[in-house]
Amino acid sequence: MSQAKVPTWVNIALIPVLNIMLAFFVSGLVILAIGENPIEAAGYLIYGAFGYDEGIGYTLYYATNLIFTGLAVSVAFKGGLFNIGGEGQAYIGGLGVGLICLSLDHTMPLYVIAPLAVIGAAVFGAAWAYIPAYLQARRGSHIVITTIMFNFIASSLMVYLIVNWLKEDGRMAPNSRTFEESAWLPYLHELLSPIGIEIGDSPLNLAFIWALLCCVFVWGLIWHTRWGYQLRTLGTNPTAARYAGIDTAKVTIWAMLISGGLAGFVGLNEIMGVNHNLLLNFTAGYGFAGIAVALMGRNHPIGIILAAILFGALYQGGAELAFEIPTITPEIVVVIQGLVILFSGALEHMFKDRIEGFFIRRAVA
């Protein structure tokens, strides 16, 4: 009688899809409520996101950020930690990237700067996650609250640094000088055109490839290494972790360091890939969106890639939609994002219990 009673596809496909459908359905109602046609809106959205080269490029560019933050949330989550600090870690990660670029762009070529920038992003992002992690592991301060606080602290710190130290004299906008081209991550359309592949101009850059590599890295790390085994043990049963002789404080801290480092890579895409200078608020909520991505992607790299592309499409399609129907603001995407978090996160039991109950009853009968 003790067989697995609920088929796997129910948990990894049926329930997530149902949750997303519900989120979209409610979003449709919102669009209807503001007097627009949801079907037409969906049409613009899908066309804008996937209908042409450039649109796809933008979709993937947004997805790049979301893959990083989604991975960040999920690595911490696997260890039972809720990292809401992705936003701040990404911000500070970007600072690391910016500082490296600003100090080396006159003297070094890209192939020297890029690896250093990767390290800079990871180290700075990780450093920002370290204090909440340390406090959680050694002093029992709740990581959710401390990471929220650290988002605010990061934001103030960045304003201070950029406005007082990094801003170019005489410049209006609070951002640093533009980097030399030796510190620009190449755009994919530039990389691909010499080998005969022409894709439309878009901000999609090398950071996207790095994001995919990070997925592979995270997948191997969590499911195929000892450390991942320890992390998952800690995340599902902390008492068993202590029983197994796992140094829970150390695993906690490392999980957050990796999480923060991953979030920091948003800086690669934004600072080095697209903006080419250090500016304020480039994280634009990607840290929070990462929570939705991780939840929807079931904390698995494949799922995260899919969810990130879905959200990337919403961002890009949403911009297109707002462009075509000015009464719909791009904020509708934020609403959809929130609804996804609500239905696939907070209300996960709503369908899950019923559907699983249905399959269990069927199995028992």
């Binding site: 209006m172 906008a173 901000p203 911009a319 707002a322 462009f323 791009p330």
Partner: protein, 309 residues
């Protein structure tokens, strides 16, 4: 036929101030010619360039872009689309297909400064700036000169709301700043702070003080409280771009608009008529003429990044 377009900055076209000024110009043009202007309001940095490209690709021209924040994006896109005409307001780009429109805000600010000094009973007036950038210091400096010209022993209190873009959209802080200035004796406040100004004017109204609007004519925002507005005719900049383009007379290059060509001015209308005495009106007329004639030299903060006049 031209297909005109406009890209606002991230504050959006209803910021009651700078963007809204441009929007008014757009409305005027549409009302007059019946030609719809394609509008775009980007929500983040990436969308600025994306929106510009999309407009350029679809052949919209001229494209009016609003604010110094767009300088680098416009520069990139204008290079890639040499056949499309761009006008950038408040920014300077040296390209053959870009017109750069900048204003002598210091002249207008001087005028309203003088008026503030005339209206003040406490001989203390104040200034609330938005984001602390040279452009806003330019307003402050002109204002201060105007006040001192009228009343050399007057006190001018100055505060900036913040050092980020958010400082242009923080009415709560604006109102707190204004209240603190009032408590130090100010009875006329000039806000060059975008959306933050709304809070400043509200505070002035609540405490029975006078306020001076900026960019658009904001006299209607709090009638009876608004002493005047330092109008910066961004609406005209936009309107003229479209008109000229339609007539084929649009030209690239730098356009500097000041008092003499009506680019900046002080606003007098029904909403503030009762606050302006005939005497004040006369004095203003006189000062205005003197600035235009060059008899009064107003120092431009941005010429040397100081306010030594």
């Amino acid at each position: 036929a031209t297909e005109p377009a406009v890209v606002y900055d991230q504050a959006g076209k209803f910021d009651k101030s700078f963007n809204e000024g441009v929007y008014n110009g757009v409305k005027e043009y549409t009302a007059e010619t019946g030609i719809q202007v394609r509008e775009f309001e980007p929500k983040n940095e990436a969308q600025v360039e994306q929106g510009l490209r999309r407009l350029a690709k679809r052949g919209y021209s001229p494209i009016v872009t609003v604010g110094f924040n767009m300088t680098s994006a416009v520069e990139k896109v204008a290079k890639d689309f040499p056949e499309i005409n761009f006008t950038i307001i408040d920014g300077v780009i040296d390209l053959p297909n870009v017109q750069s429109v900048v204003f002598k805000e210091y002249e207008g600010s001087f005028l309203v400064g003088a008026l503030a000094a005339m209206a003040s009973k406490t001989n203390t007036v104040s200034f609330v700036g938005g984001m602390d950038i040279p452009l806003i210091r330019k307003f402050a400096c002109g204002y201060e000169q105007g006040v001192k010209y009228q009343s050399s022993n007057a006190t001018v209190l100055q505060n900036m709301t913040g050092s980020t873009g958010a400082a242009f959209n923080d009415p709560t802080k604006g109102s707190e700043l204004a209240k603190s200035q009032f408590s130090k004796g100010s009875d006329v406040v000039f806000a060059a702070a975008g959306g933050t100004g709304i809070g400043v004017y509200q505070a002035a109204k609540d405490e029975g003080k006078l306020a001076i609007g900026v960019d658009s004519n904001q006299n209607h925002v709090q009638p009876g409280t608004m002493l005047t507005s330092m109008v910066k005719r961004v609406d005209q900049a936009a309107y003229k771009t479209y008109k000229d383009a339609a007539a084929g007379t649009w030209k690239p290059g730098l356009v500097v608009l000041g008092l003499s060509d009506g680019g900046v001015d002080w606003a007098l209308d029904d909403n503030n008529a009762s606050l302006i005495t005939a005497d004040m009106k006369a004095k203003m007329k006189d000062i205005r003429a003197k600035i235009i004639s060059g008899e009064i030299k107003v120092h431009d903060y941005m010429s040397d990044n100081t306010c030594n006049y």
